[in-house]
Amino acid sequence: TISMIAIDASGAMAAATSTNGASHKVPGRVGDGPIVGSGSYVDGEVGGCGATGDGDIMMRFLPCYQAVESLRRGLTPQEAADDAVARMVRKFPTISSGIVVVDNQGRHGGAGSGWTFTYAYRGGVMNETVVVSVPPI
């Protein structure tokens, strides 16, 4: 699953997610990817979030809505990411999850569980994309 957030030069934000879901799923199954607040979420006044992982579980927690609302309440992107993942791990300790959170200034953080999650970013005048590896909670 790719889930992406972009901020243009004027500060306008958008988010998107695309996935082919889980292998060997029951036909008709839909995961978290196309669910607003789960696969991704963005409020240009605050920030955005993208998610990947066990969509059958993650879509019950709306982790990206949770993370963006945490930004609104004053948490940093890293704190918001950690909190959203921790809420899922508390109920489902073995869940594989990963979320990336960015505020509307481009400050970012990521958190995951069940695997080593990675995310990629590029901004400003960076010459190449940087990949960040996130140890599991």
């Binding site: 992406m4 957030i5 958008a14 998107a16 997610t17 060997h24 839909v30 696969g39 991704s40 990963g98």
Partner: protein
Amino acid sequence: SSGLPFVINTWGGPFTAATDAAYLALVNGTAATALDAVEVGCTTCEANQCDGSVGYGGSPDESCETTLDALIMDGATFAAGAVANLRRVRSAVGVARAVMEHTAHTLLAGDQATAFAVQNGFVEEDISTPDSRAACAEWRAAACQPNYRVAVSPDASVSCGPYTPLQVDNTTSAQTQASHD
């Protein structure tokens, strides 16, 4: 922050082609808006199939079919469009944007989403590949393991279907780890 414009996405490796595509589209002006940029980025991943979890020819279902899910959201207007269980169309995020821009709805699903895509100029085609057909054949040869069915007969942890439902114990919540999105 490294400054604006800025693009960030899940995963590294093959997914960085999407990061670069979205970022460069913003810098070069081929993407006029952040919304254009995320569409460019996700479309790049769909075309490249990234690690196999995005786009055509990945994650076949029990029937060996690849279906796609996508979402796009504008952070300024809260406009959003999405497709779920999209069949026989490659450009999932493109169709999601069409849902956002050409309907007052948020989410279309299944064959009706495909029909909407065709109405909006997208091509309907087989989106399976030799690799996805082989992965499905191997899964069937391995007694359909791993498997998401629970509380069915025959036992889905050792057998393929067809399945019939068994009495359900609602005191526990099933959590399988067969795969992920």
